[in-house]
Symmetry: C2
Subunit: 391 residues, 2 copies
Amino acid sequence: MKIESVDFFYLSMPEVLDIGDGSQDALLVRIRAGNYEGWGECEASPLTSIASYVCPMSHSACKPLKYSLEGKSINDAQDIYAISRSVHENSLDLLQANHTLSGIDIALWDLLGKKAGVPVYQLLGYKKAYPKLPYASQLFGNSPEDTFEKAASTIRAGYKAAKFGWGGFGKSGLTNDINHLQAAREGLGPDAILMVDAGTIFGEDIAAAKERLVALKAVNTYWFEEPFVNGALYPYKTLSAASPPVPLAGGEGCSNFVQAQAMIAYGGLSFIQIDAGRIGGITVAKRVADLAVQYGVTYVNHTFNSHLALSASLQSYAGIEKDIVCEYPVELKSLAQEIGREKILRGEDGRINLPDRPGLGITVDMAALKKYLVDVEIRVNGKNLYYTPEC
Amino acid sequence: MKIESVDFFYLSMPEVLDIGDGSQDALLVRIRAGNYEGWGECEASPLTSIASYVCPMSHSACKPLKYSLEGKSINDAQDIYAISRSVHENSLDLLQANHTLSGIDIALWDLLGKKAGVPVYQLLGYKKAYPKLPYASQLFGNSPEDTFEKAASTIRAGYKAAKFGWGGFGKSGLTNDINHLQAAREGLGPDAILMVDAGTIFGEDIAAAKERLVALKAVNTYWFEEPFVNGALYPYKTLSAASPPVPLAGGEGCSNFVQAQAMIAYGGLSFIQIDAGRIGGITVAKRVADLAVQYGVTYVNHTFNSHLALSASLQSYAGIEKDIVCEYPVELKSLAQEIGREKILRGEDGRINLPDRPGLGITVDMAALKKYLVDVEIRVNGKNLYYTPEC
């Protein structure tokens, strides 16, 4: 089959708020070949990613992504690997490329899964998909009381694990952080798993992060996530060896394989968190999952948007039985809720299972999403390089 | 002073060829404040970088760059650091941000230098700028004879150092590479410095790169540049310890400080090459130069566009006397030649000196560049987010 079309749909809530909620907009990718249609989702800044697909070439290593897609063959996994390689070579000097490639790669796997009539994880070589224990991923409350209430309601909703992050953490002093951590633990009760996400707030400041370790240990934190900016290997490594020991998680900011490799090999991480919508799609995410197994590091998805993105994020480690936890966004805006017609829901045992359907197993109904569609037009020297496609 | 305007000018040759020549287009940034005007240049994909400046916010850590610029104060270096920090925090999840920030940061330093009436390197804390020995940076020839002729003419033109890169290197077998290396050395003669740039052709393949070491040693290569993709720490480190020993150079692909830090600390590099038009501007480049001194690694600029970009690239290590060599593009397209009214030319001793003028010391005359101007219009939901400004 030849790739017949690659279409981008920029969706947004009517109002995007200045909060750490990544479900407020989305960039969907639809790829058609033969009689099949695959869907993917790119993480962050739809307009910039669209521009990287259609931009004029700057030089041989800075071509638009469409160069690696238009008219190419898509019959089996080798064709996806070839497209991924081509983007990395021909768009090497285009920083945004990996964001855009991510949605494309996901759509290609969805398409091939539908063609083969099997879930994507089987195309990746996994015989089965093991159930995952979802942790409810959410922002800290505005006050400790608010955080307590969020934690308590998470337990009432049936979750066995919860992660709190961002908000005021690391910004309003140690005492405030301790109060929020204690409130989260009290709200969850003693048995639930509690993760804490610092959202890179400490930059490269080891001392500031270190000050939080005693409190993190006291509330039995399962992991301490992104104390530092992604790739700050020395701070990560140093903190991982500090006392009291708290397992570190990170990696969501990785936008290619070697960045994740460095975090695993030199960062002292216990958990590597990969966003398939950012690192270059399922292809690259699977490479990282394989590497994590070799290093004895636990792989976890990073997802804070739709269930289409969630399905894509889970495929790459679906077959690794021991890597049990998965991120599960619980505060999705209506846009992100409506992107997939089917939902990945918790069963009675509190776990989730990947859809046992071809591809990603999630249907995208653009007609229903039309109300969120953002109209984009990019003109260069009088030529229309991009306009929003018909739904 | 308040920042009054930030304008982007996308310039391009009438035809952009599929070759490794980054001087075929350019994105200039003009910033006005008070009665001053600063100019900067961003590396690669002008359209994508423009989009990252004007794009709608996706969430709190994915804002357009304009958020960190519009209406901000610019009086001294601390204001530039604050803007740089703000972009890193508020545009954290926007991959293209560092490309765009680079041109902005450079323009801000140029502006402050003009205000203070001193060259930028003095604002950075250097008392003087030491002369640098430029190496003529060029592509390998199409045949060994062609490479020989390029090398010979480089010597005739008065250069004492030359770098050959890209072209067919690593693509057409070991024998072909050996022939080109020998031709380059023969053309240069025994005394000139010869650098070799593999342009990431070996990806992460250590064995393929290793096969070239004997030939590289035989022609007395000063450094072997970018055998692997940027950030492939393990391959770099392994090759740096292989036999025969050939000094490694790399880092041009770094788009933030911690990536460069990792290459210096874990990559076994002898030379760290930083593109101020990519890593986030002069601010971040200077941080890397300081770190390189601590590690005993030699800092070198990476530049393959205009003399405005060249001046910007040199400022960050102008005061480090021992770091003597600098990249000097010799095959610039007319566009890149015309961007700066003044040129940074070799003196009789074969060296170059930074302009002893305020700011970057390079005047940009947009009227003269108008013939290269690319007209861009970006509309989102009927609103014009960007149109090419008046010259």
